[in-house]
């Protein structure tokens, strides 16, 4: 077991030693960045500014939800609308690694601008162990470049502070509960956000489709779990595929997109089994997606692959 109190005390000491001036924290509202924000704000107080970037790639209602959480935490924060900048960096990009690198770089450029205007020389990130492990290094293969590690440009102007580098998600949640951070039970959501759930080019139109599909999957599985119909998986979402297939809607030919239902059970994100979703619930998700999104989606499939050999997200 992780010695949570010991970890918190040690990390407060090392943050105090590391952050002598002002710092900004990249804050998505997920448990990793919110715990990092709570720790650093305990250590350096008002010298910390949290930056939430609305990349245009976030889930339905997410920006408002995170704004509320940051307000509740009582730390300095700023919401930056950078959607246009992100979509223009992603124009024509289809390779998953190129996407992740483009997004990582955009984030850093936004943070550099914000750091300059706040006078910060340190960037705090909620990087956890799987982020740097999967990003690869001298000896490790790059499985995927996590935006906060593999996406960092070489000419970055700030020094990095990453208090959670040696923890996994289950351990971060323990620290979150200890510190009373509200997002402790939020499901993981990748830094590159809906861009890596949208295979092929990331356009505002494609993101709108996968955003709605993700919302339906989250909503139906959330309701099913709340009423005892299934256990809440570790992570559950939709992926939009670039291929099209033939369908029939009200006696008319359809030629639409495919949505994947992905749900996994895991503890640390390093191994995972696909989550068994009862067929009645799969049915509900499938019908709701294809009925309410009929002009975009006419097929829904269910991903039954573990990690390894797959990863949890598709890109």
């Amino acid at each position: 077991m992780l010695d949570v109190e010991g970890f918190v005390n040690e990390s407060l000491e090392s943050i105090k030693a590391q952050v002598s001036g002002k710092a900004i924290i990249a804050c998505s509202g997920g448990v990793d960045s919110m715990v990092s924000a709570a720790l650093v704000s305990k250590a350096v107080g008002d010298r910390l500014l949290a930056i939430y970037v609305d990349s245009g790639l976030m889930r339905k209602g997410e920006t408002e939800e995170v704004r509320g959480m940051l307000q509740e935490m009582g730390i300095n924060f700023k919401v930056v609308d950078a959607a246009e900048e992100f979509f223009s960096a992603l124009k024509g990009v289809t390779d998953p690694e190129a996407k992740r690198k483009a997004i990582g770089e955009r984030f850093i450029r936004v943070f550099e601008r914000e750091a300059r205007s706040f006078g910060a020389d340190t960037l705090v990130q909620g990087t956890i162990a799987p982020d740097w492990i999967e990003s690869g290094d001298g000896v490790r293969d790059t499985i995927k470049s996590h935006h906060n590690v593999g996406g960092l440009p070489k000419d970055m102007e700030m020094s990095l502070c990453e208090p959670l580098r040696d923890l996994y998600k289950d351990e971060v949640r323990q620290v979150a509960r200890f510190l009373g951070v509200r997002s402790s039970e939020r499901q993981p959501f990748p830094g590159p956000a809906l861009a890596v759930r949208c295979l092929g080019e990331v356009t505002p139109e494609n993101v709108a489709i996968v955003r709605e599909a993700c919302y339906i999957v989250e909503d139906e599985i959330g309701k099913a779990a709340a009423s005892g119909g299934m256990e809440l998986p570790w992570q559950y979402f939709a992926v939009l595929l670039p291929s099209r297939s033939v369908g029939v809607q009200g006696d008319r030919r359809a030629y639409g997109r495919t949505v994947v239902i992905r749900a996994v059970c895991s503890v640390d994100g390093m191994t995972a089994t696909y989550a068994p979703i009862p067929t009645a619930i799969l049915d509900r998700i499938s019908s709701r997606i294809t009925n309410t999104m009929k002009s975009q989606v006419n097929r829904v499939v269910y991903d039954i692959t573990n990690k390894p050999p797959a990863t949890i997200e598709w890109e």
Partner: protein, 191 residues
């Protein structure tokens, strides 16, 4: 007790560190290019897995050979770590006819050391493209699966152990028990 982990570039090297830390061991991850003399005061060593093709990419395995030759303490090789130690002592490696990713049904044939107190049939998780084809002289097979005949080995005359699967990941049953057994082996070795 001090047990270091030699990093051969595995996705789960840091998980080995986590399991040992949870067991209260003084542990560190070290590069596989670390000179033996810098780590010779450990009580035991874990050789991690990694992406190298052990048979053809010997350079990527750094000083693992020297550690095995000079260790006067128990050594536990995992995945590529086990493949390397088998080849080092004269065994042969090759591509798996059927690779294993994820769930594997393990059949344990020898409960003397690493598998002490663990049932005959358990579920473990693996992730490998290659496997041990011939076990070196002086080594015995301690577990197998339907697609991989050499899932675990031990030396008959030195405290050297290997597993092809990954006892450090969450989905492997009795994984922490296998590490506890390794620590017990170290303890007994020192008596």
């Amino acid at each position: 007790m001090k047990v270091y982990i030699v990093d051969n570039g595995g996705q789960w090297t840091h998980r080995e560190w986590r399991v040992l830390r949870y067991l209260g061991v003084d542990t560190r991850i070290v590069k596989n290019t670390t000179p033996f003399d810098e780590i010779s005061d450990v009580d035991g060593l874990v050789l991690s897995g990694g992406s190298p093709n052990v048979a053809s990419d010997a350079d990527a395995m750094g000083n693992n050979g020297e550690y095995l030759d000079r260790a006067d303490f128990p050594v536990f090789g995992i995945c590529a770590g086990m493949q390397f130690l088998c080849e080092h002592f004269g065994g042969t490696l090759g591509e798996s006819a059927v690779p294993e990713f994820g769930h594997v049904d393990l059949r344990i044939s020898d409960h003397g050391d690493i598998f002490k107190g663990i049932p005959d049939g358990i579920c473990v998780w693996a992730s490998h493209n290659d496997e041990v084809k011939e076990v070196p002289e002086g080594f015995v097979v301690t577990a197998s699966s339907s697609s991989c005949p050499v899932e675990a080995v031990r030396s008959a005359d030195r405290p050297i152990y290997g597993v092809q699967f990954h006892p450090e990941v969450e989905h492997t049953e009795f994984g922490p028990q296998m590490f506890r057994n390794f620590l017990k082996i170290i303890d007994d070795w020192q008596k």
